[in-house]
């Protein structure tokens, strides 16, 4: 096994964790140029990324973009058509799932219906390849049963459990084996909304406590934003952006990421702006420094929170920045206002109810729009 | 596992292939293959006994198919509107008709029809004072058709019930909502929905009846069906004509089954 230079670099530069180097060898994961084809269809296209040991990473993207395939490539249920996969620095792309130090929580949970809760959890510890002495199995399984609040359910049939309990059994069955990486494929999909919040907190605490690398697929961007250290955004088999939740929200690298993570008002330019400035419906914006080298700007946009409404006279941009209110939606402490703007189409504004308290906007009102220059994002792709 | 599956495949098809090949063999004895010829087909089907048996089998299979498709469709639809108990009883009896081995059905039909015939003949003789009554009934096509209709109907009920389970109950409500009464709904929604299954069930009934041996062996009387005729001939040894007859039978059943299964799949695809 050989660790790629950039992998070491990534490990060394990463702040904050004293055992980072050791963890990197332990539970990090690396994809290098991984492509997976099913027949002529390319499900995953030239994927390269690093996952830091001990981190909580989410993979998000629209349905069919290759998230599950990526997980299955890590777990060993699919093998790359091209490229390599490293776990803890060792190449594993030729290894079968049962040889990899990884465990998975299946979307369906895949609990064995012919075994009770205890035997399901003990399944991995009793495998021929990884057999532990009976006393150890008993101790470890009982410990995890306690930790996962399944005490008293040891000898229940798994199909008699509630959805939340089944999910905890699936988690317990995986982590009892001390995997280097735990993989979760849409673990919340089968839970109802209220339970989901609680489980998200539990999952986060569990990950902190165990220090195991978690890689989770979800199509729920809020879930990804609230749980993860890093998020991998995929689209059509490719990576759009990798970053912390803050980076993705505040510095989306592409139109796709901007629209996918949170709400976004996107303004496509009629013709790409190659110079140092962009003309958006009568407003001239300077292209920011960090985008300058990337080519022509093709779109700009801003978050709904950045859009301010006022009944007063227009700001910069004049009449083009006037719009009619088409919907007003109260969301408890916030209010969302949908607008029809002659120059920019449909826009969304969001503001604290408190801030708007003195002014009641109604459907049909005409308002003036204000966005700070610095709130505009510029996109070259 | 792949290799073993391939081996099983060969095991299933090789003996049949040998028969087919040798049925086209020009050589007078079967020790070697000397060239293609249809002479054994000509010979087999110029034999009046073979032709009579073939005709017999086709007529019986057609009648069984028609009878069992009609009764089976009616039963399958009727089962939708009965109590749970009736449904379970009827379905179990139908299953019994499929599961009881042919030999038992065959001999039971033999004794039952004998008893029924002699009872009926005595009644006719007594009531009409007709001495000739003893020859009124005999075993033949009707008895085979009746006995075959049992397992064929059971099969049709099974196939159509399977299809009816895919019928979305809200279609019936939608039909009622759109002013069609119950009878009209049955005719305009349910029946069209099960037509592919009816065709498939009828064709499979034809095949099963056409190929059936042991029941026909008991109740065909002096008029053998093709399988019974073939069995009697095989006991006298393998001949090239038998290869030709066997090949013809296999061809007929394979063709009809393929069509039947394509109807089953078509029904499936549209659901």
């Amino acid at each position: 096994m050989r660790l790629a230079p950039e992998a070491e670099g990534g490990g060394a530069n990463a702040p904050d964790d004293r055992t980072k180097g050791q963890r990197m060898n332990d539970g990090g994961g690396t994809f290098r140029g991984v492509t997976k084809k099913f027949g002529s269809f390319t499900a995953v296209n030239d994927l390269s990324f690093e996952i830091e040991a001990g981190s909580f990473v989410s993979i998000v993207g629209p349905s069919g973009c290759g998230k599950t395939t990526t997980l299955r490539l890590i777990a060993g249920f699919e093998f790359p058509t091209v490229g390599s996969v490293f776990i803890g620095g060792s190449p594993v792309e030729r290894m079968e799932a049962y040889e990899r130090p990884i465990n998975m929580v299946f979307q369906s949970y895949a609990l064995f219906p012919h075994l009770d809760v205890f035997d399901n959890i003990a399944y991995g510890l009793r495998s021929r390849r990884n057999r532990r002495p009976a006393a150890e199995v008993k101790a470890r399984v009982n410990e995890i049963i306690g930790k996962m609040q399944l005490s008293g359910k040891e000898h229940n049939r798994v199909w008699e459990l509630s959805g939340g309990q089944q999910q905890r059994v699936a988690l317990a069955r995986a982590i009892v084996n001390n995997p280097k990486i735990l993989i979760l494929d849409e673990p919340m999909a089968a839970l109802d909304k209220k339970l989901r919040r609680d489980v998200q907190f539990e999952l986060q605490s569990l990950q902190r406590e165990l220090g195991i690398t978690f890689i989770m697929v979800t199509h729920d961007q809020h879930e990804a934003l609230s749980l993860s250290d890093r998020i991998i955004v995929m689209n059509r088999g490719r990576i759009e952006q990798i970053g912390s939740p803050d980076e993705l929200y505040n510095r989306p690298a592409s139109r796709f990421v901007a629209s996918f993570i949170g709400d976004f008002n996107l303004l496509e330019l009629e013709k790409p702006a190659a110079g140092g400035t962009v003309d958006v419906a009568g407003r001239v914006l300077a292209v920011p420094q960090e985008r300058a080298g990337e080519g022509a700007t093709i779109a700009v946009g801003f978050r709904p929170d950045a859009l301010k409404l006022s009944a007063a006279a227009p700001g910069a941009g004049g009449e083009a920045w006037r719009a009619t209110i088409t919907n007003v939606i109260y969301l408890g402490d916030k209010v969302e206002i949908k607008l029809d703007c002659p120059s920019s189409g449909t826009l969304l504004a969001r503001a604290d109810v408190a801030r708007l308290a003195e002014r009641r906007f109604r459907v049909g009102d005409t308002v003036h729009l204000t966005v700070e220059d610095s709130d505009f994002h510029h996109f070259t792709k | 596992m792949r290799a073993f599956s391939l081996f099983i495949f060969l095991f299933l098809y090789l003996p049949v292939a040998v028969i087919v090949v040798f049925s086209f063999n020009a050589a007078p004895n079967m020790s070697a293959f000397t060239g293609l010829s249809l002479r054994w087909y000509a010979k087999a089907f110029s034999n009046p006994l073979a032709i009579a048996a073939l005709t017999n089998s086709i007529v019986i299979a057609l009648c069984s198919a028609v009878v069992s498709t009609a009764i089976g469709s009616a039963v399958a639809i009727g089962l939708m509107g009965t109590s749970r108990t009736t449904r379970i009883v009827v379905q179990s009896l139908m299953m019994l008709g499929l599961a009881v081995p042919g030999i038992v059905i065959g001999l039971a039909s033999l004794v039952f029809f004998s008893a029924a015939f002699s009872g009926a003949e005595q009644a006719v003789a007594m009531l009409a004072g007709w001495e000739q009554a003893a020859k009124l009934f005999s075993f033949g096509r009707p008895t085979v058709i009746a006995a075959h209709s049992l397992f064929c109907t059971a099969l049709v009920v099974e196939v159509i019930s399977l299809r009816l389970r895919q019928l979305n109950p809200s279609w019936l409500e939608a039909s009622n909502d759109l002013y069609a009464g119950r009878g009209e709904t049955l005719w305009r929604v349910v029946v069209p929905f099960i037509v592919p299954a009816m065709v498939a069930g009828g064709l499979l009934s034809f095949v099963l009846s056409f190929d059936e041996f042991i029941i026909a062996f008991f109740v065909s009387g002096t008029k053998p069906t093709l399988p019974v005729y073939m069995f009697a001939s095989v006991k006298r040894g393998a001949t090239p004509e038998l290869n030709a007859i066997a090949t013809s039978m296999l061809t007929i059943s394979i063709l009809v089954s393929v069509v039947a299964f394509s109807f089953l799949r078509r029904g499936q695809a549209r659901a």
Binding site: - | Y13, G78, L107
Partner: protein, 280 residues
């Protein structure tokens, strides 16, 4: 949705058919089995269980049938398992159903013609001639237990594969992957997940094969030359040769009883093995 009166009307022809071809015949057989053979053959009214006592004199046929059926069913299952598993878990899409169709197709072709194929293949001009030509010596296959066993496996393999396919197909791929994920390889997974979950299907397949095989007549007759004696042969002899209908009926009733017992036991075992909480 259907009016009860309409439903009853639709069921009427079904009742008539069942009465005429199933219930009537089975009851008649039961009545006749309690009667006596008329001097010229056939049936004479009586009420005794004498015939059932003489069934015991046919115990060799029973024993033979039970042995060969139990053995044949076991071989069938063993041969069917890898094929059914291969089709259910390794083939995908349309290939899968085409292969399944091709495996099951022989079941819908003439039983007599297929058995005749083996009669031809195992007969003097078939396999023995080939083996002698290769120089392996002289062999005789026809009229042996071996030929009957081959014929039985050949005839019932398709239905065994079909039934086991259904049993394996119901086991989700995710369970097999979960087992792999937890460190168990293919063989270990097969025995710790697939077999336990398919157990009800295995039991019902075995008992159905056993029942079908024990009613077999054609195969022992053609490939066993009547030397391999099944209950089926006994029944045909009693009915069509010695015309002892009462004894023949008693043998048939005994055979049916045995089958019912097997079906019943199979239900019990299936329920015991049905540990995943699903029915069947």
């Amino acid at each position: 949705m259907l009016q009860p009166r309409m439903a009853r009307l639709l069921l009427l022809p079904g009742y008539a058919l069942l009465a005429l071809t199933l219930i009537g015949p089975l009851i008649t057989t039961l009545v006749i089995s309690l009667g006596r053979r008329a001097p010229s053959g056939g049936y004479e009214t009586a009420l005794s269980i004498e015939n059932f006592a003489s069934v015991l004199s046919r115990s060799t046929a029973f024993l033979n049938t039970v042995q060969l059926s139990a053995f044949g069913a076991a071989i069938c299952i063993l041969a069917a398992i890898p094929v059914a598993f291969f089709i259910a878990k390794h083939l995908k899409g349309s290939v899968r159903y085409t292969v399944l169709f091709l495996v099951v197709l022989p079941f819908f072709t003439s039983f007599v013609a297929r058995t005749y194929a083996w009669y031809f293949a195992l007969g003097g001009r078939g396999l023995p001639a080939v083996l002698e030509w290769i120089g392996l010596g002289r062999f005789r296959f026809l009229n042996t237990d071996f030929a009957v066993a081959i014929g039985i496996i050949y005839a019932y393999l398709p239905i065994a594969i079909l039934m086991l396919f259904v049993a394996f197909d119901r086991i989700g791929d995710d369970l097999l992957e979960a087992s792999n994920d937890l460190g168990r390889g293919k063989v270990e997974t097969f025995f710790s997940v697939v077999i336990p979950l398919a157990m009800p299907g295995l039991i019902s397949t075995y008992s159905l094969l056993f029942i079908l095989l024990s009613g077999e007549y054609l195969i022992p007759m053609l490939l066993g030359g009547g030397k391999v004696y099944f209950i089926g042969n006994a029944i045909v002899d009693l009915f069509l040769q010695s015309r002892n209908w009462p004894l023949g009926s008693a043998v048939a009733i005994s055979l049916m009883s045995m089958m019912i017992v097997v079906a019943f036991l199979s239900q019990i075992f299936q329920r015991m093995a049905n540990r995943d909480g699903r029915i069947g």
